[in-house]
Amino acid sequence: MATSFAGVPIFDYEALASVLFFIGLAGAIARRNPLVMLMSIELMFNAANLAFIVFARAWLNNAGQIFAFLVITVAAAEAAIALAIVVVVFRSAPQVNVDDVRVLHG
């Protein structure tokens, strides 16, 4: 396993991916706007993608790159469905706020 490339240690890439991931997680939890939440989730996906590509490079195993590709397509499908659902839910609402959505509880 390679320990660095482009002069930067693998660990730093890992750390960057982790930071991105947790920023995304924080956003997914803290924001009220479902669109921003979805963007945060995309950020988490892409953090994982970064990790995949870095590890693919480190292990010289293309599977990681293929995986990243797969994730990009799946994420696109997910985004499309998500947008559709958000549009349907908030069609008649004055503003987009997930806290307004709580018919179901208890």
């Binding site: 997680l25 997914a28 990790a51 590890f55 499908a77 349907v88 179901l104």
Partner: protein, 477 residues
């Protein structure tokens, strides 16, 4: 360069291809023949395709093929879990045939079939890549399916499911990335190397991976979405989710726990999962107590039932896997049965009448249905004359036999709590109520009736499983 995949690989996934193609066919028929197509055409095509798929999968029993570079492993394990997935799919399809308009049904059915494709993929998936693909295929279709009923609660369920489940998927994916980093391979089997025990990437990756799995299994504290989603989703979809999602995820979890862990690490690594399984048994059953909606109650019940199944897996023994699978089948059948009763009683429009209040006086008005419901609820509660009882006894035996006595004890406590919740519905049904007349209750479409009857037969038949001469059941010790 040789071809990456051969015809052997494609033959291995033939059932998946058939199921996916069925979904496409349903769409095409709807597209081309809409004005002329007879009612129920989409449903019939879907039934045929699903049964054909089940037959194809059954044919694979006894074979052993590792297709797509080990990404898709056909074996008895995948066959058994695949059949449960298809059982759940058939059950959900049957519940769809409860009348109402055909208008939206083609799209719904196609989505349902593709979702089942994802679940089938999971049953055989053995690399993180196929697992991710399967989980996303399963979930993406379900987000849409949840929101398809034209009422506010359904849309809300879809949104909640989408937001939370996507977050969990991202966590799962990140875990997969770390696991890939640890082993340099997407294969689960590569994780079983002893070098992993000291690799921090492996531990963190497993943690995130298990969080994602626990979310899909709706284990406490990742359970919060489940009751809301089950309540909001249309009846057939809720039934589908309780059975198929659980079966597929249990398959993944079992593969991970049994085949992907280095010796010596598995007890400690899986401890948090057993812990939350135990908590789920209690919280799920307690949560049932104060519910007023049947679907929601069954959602809570599902949380606890997954806990029971995991209790059987806790020792990661072969016997445990067998008993877990047995209980999974029993759970699928009795749960589908309960949903079938609800479907027979539901009025067919968007408001589905699953309020427990609306079951009052059922015993006098529809004694057959009430008796069937009582039977299924007793089975879910795990009372003696039913298969549910047998399943629980087996789980208790294996959990205690492998040293997880505390899980067995929690199971007993959870069962005791659940008795009260189930009894509440049963009592509501047998309490006289003069407000509603028999004529007000729909007769119910034939398909849910058939499904109900089959579930009833199966629940009874499974009780006699130990009577089989095969000696399948050496009771522990």
């Amino acid at each position: 360069m040789t071809l990456p995949f051969t015809h052997v690989d494609w033959a291995a996934v033939a059932p998946l291809e058939v199921l996916a193609a069925t979904g496409l066919l349903v769409l095409l028929f709807d597209l081309v023949w809409r004005p002329f197509a007879p009612r129920g055409l989409s449903l019939s095509v879907a039934f045929l395709g699903t049964i054909l798929t089940a037959a194809l999968i059954a044919q694979q029993y006894g074979t052993n093929v590792a297709a797509f570079n080990g990404g898709y492993i056909v074996g008895n394990f995948s066959v058994l879990f695949g059949e449960v997935v298809l059982l759940g799919t058939l059950g959900a399809l049957a519940l769809m045939g409860r009348g109402g308009s055909d208008r939206e049904s083609a799209g719904t059915i196609a989505l349902l079939l593709w979702s089942a494709c994802g679940a089938l993929l999971l049953a055989a998936a053995a690399t993180t890549m196929t697992i991710f693909l399967g989980i996303e295929l399963l979930s993406l279709a379900l987000y849409c399916l949840c929101g398809l009923a034209n009422r506010k609660s359904a849309r809300e369920a879809a949104l909640k499911y989408l937001l939370l489940s996507s977050t969990a998927s991202a966590v799962l994916l990140f875990g997969m990335a770390l696991l890939f980093g640890a082993s340099g391979s997407v294969s689960l089997a590569a994780l079983a190397s002893p070098a992993m025990v000291t690799n921090p990437l492996f531990w963190m990756g497993s943690g995130f991976f298990l969080v994602g799995i626990a979310f899909k299994l709706s284990l406490v504290p990742f359970h919060a979405w489940a009751p809301d989603v089950y309540q909001g989703a249309p009846l057939p979809i809720a039934a589908f989710m309780t059975v198929v999602t659980k079966a597929a995820t249990i398959a993944i979890f079992a593969r991970f726990a049994y085949a992907a862990l280095p010796a010596g690490a598995s007890q400690m690594l899986l401890l948090p999962v057993w812990a939350i399984a135990g908590i789920s048994m209690i919280v799920g059953n307690v949560g049932m107590l104060a519910q007023h909606d049947l679907k929601r109650l069954l959602g809570y019940s599902g949380i606890a039932q997954v806990g029971y199944i995991l209790a059987a897996l806790a020792g990661t023994t072969r016997l445990g896997l067998r008993y877990a699978f047995f209980y999974l089948v029993v759970y699928a059948v009795m749960n589908l049965g309960a949903f079938a009763v609800a479907a027979v009683l539901s009025s067919g429009d968007d408001e589905e009448g699953t309020q427990i209040q609306s079951y009052r006086g059922l015993g006098a008005r529809r004694p057959l249905l009430a008796a069937a419901m009582t039977f299924f609820l007793l089975a879910l509660a795990g009372l003696p004359p039913t298969a549910g009882f047998l399943g629980k006894i087996l789980i208790l035996a294996v959990a205690a036999g492998t040293g997880y006595l505390w899980l067995a004890a929690l199971l007993l406590v959870g069962t005791a709590i659940s008795l009260y919740a189930y009894a509440k519905i049963i009592l509501a049904m047998y309490r006289p109520d003069h407000r509603v007349h028999a004529a007000d209750i729909p007769r119910g479409a034939p398909l849910p009736w058939v499904s109900l009857a089959l579930c009833l037969v199966a629940t009874v038949a499974l009780t006699f499983y130990p009577l089989l001469p095969s000696g399948l059941l050496p009771l522990v010790k």
